[in-house]
Symmetry: C2
Subunit: 333 residues, 2 copies
């Protein structure tokens, strides 16, 4: 039987517990700064480099926290997850680490690097058509037939608590640098990362504003926040940010976001590309387009941040060579 969905958001206690649980396995990713960039921008920019996390994205945190919460019987039955690629790799790597069989439901047009890595972590992949089939239905069927536990990508308290550990680290690293954070920005798709980060940041540093960042074509969180209720994306909407294409915010993430976020920011694909180019040139980081949207949003708002200290989460770096080099070339034009 699949694990029942955890319907209440985690508290700071659950995030702290997740941090302890993850410590032996997850990378304490650095919080990077560049005085040259800061001088150019007129504000202090901190980048939490989650692209350096195991599997190349923050998703490893939530996946491992969820898997560590399974009992021995559930672990033997295995896990199933649906994902455009980063959650897939996170679950596959966490499952391999714990010796748990994993099946991943992935869109057929996921970046080659994400599918290849998921397979390399020993998971079985079931491809589907992103625009015609329901990944939730396919994963649900597999869970029912095999008894595997479903590890949801974001609408799950264990997953959100795991992602929140990135926010916990960020606040503590900034403090160790003697810095008070005016705002924290994180990319948003289903909302697991932004919810976990908002919970951690607002608990440790209530005066810090937290914003979600999304591609302007799939701005479901921004519209949901403005409407006060969940709004879905146009299923026909496209973006270069392949990791940010969830149909709408998850229930738990949205409940958290509505309470804690100061707003939802959006960026164009070209702004994401320019942020990738900045991360390359000034921080020596490889970011995927979706992993760069919080950075892009911070750059776009530079007039508002003058003199402030702004941290962004660079959430992932799983990008094929062609997309990366094209982004650098277009940003240089």
């Amino acid at each position: 039987m699949p694990e029942e969905k955890r319907a209440a958001p985690p508290g700071i206690t659950e995030i702290e517990a997740a941090a302890l649980r993850l410590a032996p396995h997850a990378v304490m990713t650095p919080l990077l700064s560049s005085p040259n960039v800061d001088a150019r921008l007129g504000f202090r920019l901190l980048i939490k480099a989650e692209n350096l996390q195991r599997t190349g994205s923050f998703k490893f945190r939530g996946a491992l926290n969820a898997l560590l919460s399974l009992d021995g019987v559930s672990r033997k039955r295995g896990v199933v997850a649906y994902s455009s690629g980063n959650h897939a790799q996170g679950v596959a790597a966490a499952a391999q680490l714990l010796g748990v069989p994993a099946t991943i439901v992935m869109p057929a047009d996921a970046p080659a690097i994400k599918a290849a890595n998921t397979k390399a972590y020993g998971a079985e992949i079931r491809f589907y058509d992103r625009y015609k089939e329901s990944r939730e239905a396919i994963a649900g069927r597999i869970a029912e037939e095999s008894g595997a536990a479903l590890i949801p990508p974001y609408d799950d308290a264990r997953v959100i608590a795991g992602q929140g550990t990135a926010g916990l680290e960020l606040v503590r690293q900034a403090r160790a640098m003697g810095l008070a954070l005016d705002a924290v920005l994180a990319p948003c798709s289903g909302g697991g990362l932004i919810a976990g980060v908002a919970l951690a940041v607002k608990s440790l540093s209530p005066g810090t504003s937290v914003y979600s960042a999304e591609p302007v074509t799939v701005d479901d969180m921004r519209r949901s926040l403005e409407a006060g209720e969940i709004r879905a994306n146009d299923p026909a909407a496209r973006s270069i940010c392949d990791c940010l294409l969830a149909p709408q915010p998850g229930d738990i993430p949205f409940a958290v976001a509505r309470k804690l976020l100061s707003g939802g920011l959006t960026v164009s694909d070209d702004q994401a590309r320019r942020a990738m180019a900045l991360a390359f040139a000034d921080y020596k980081l490889v970011l995927e387009p979706g992993g760069a949207v919080a950075l892009a949003a911070a750059l776009a708002m530079k007039e508002s941040w003058r003199g402030k200290t702004i941290a962004v989460i660079a959430s992932g770096g799983n990008v094929d060579r062609e997309i990366f080099t094209e982004a650098l070339a277009r940003a240089a034009d």
Copy 2:
């Protein structure tokens, strides 16, 4: 008057002192691993990501340690340095941090990104012809005329102690991961990094072997180690590794290397490019060619490392877009 050259190598006490001095300013760069890569290679590979250091290379460590050792009068007179680019940025950034005027003697064909950043850190640049003029002579003249202190790129105990802090961190980070290091590899040009790292590693972990890595066309350290005395490079030798073109090992670095190194490894430009591509795809790191030679050497020796734990220092990431994307494309062929 220029600072007198520090002729004896630093001890572990000086490296520990440098680490304390640098702590508020330098990045504690992560020691990264990828279980997928390890499975492919058959050994455990750890990458110390010094490309994420301030200024994009380890050089900031040695430069800042040297500048912090200057008294108030010397700081007012300023500093002068010669460098193909990474030491230039390290000295310029350290000088800016401490409010010290800096003049940098740079080859006219240094990568654009390195010259631009050096200027952005507020330093004055004096360009010279790498193949016709003596950078030592030009810098010496500036030091004599202005009273500025010369900050040598590698043949200096303060600089070597600063670079050694990367080795100190590396050993401690590996221990925190529960790992004993079989070998540590670091890129080598004049030898400041490899000397500092060898001193730190051999002091904390005497059983660990330390190797230098160089481009095969400028393999002065390997030939010097084999000859038992310093050998220079052919002045006509070329390599894509623009940061590794020092004419020969420095006196202090060579004395240290002769005593502590297990050997000198060499790689081709294409091997460096393939290492850059691996760092991009599997570690999300932007490396410059010279910053990737220790990684390249580790990859080339994979048969010898079977089952072992090998750490490499990825020493820098200051690479122009064209060189980087060309390296990824050629490695993919």
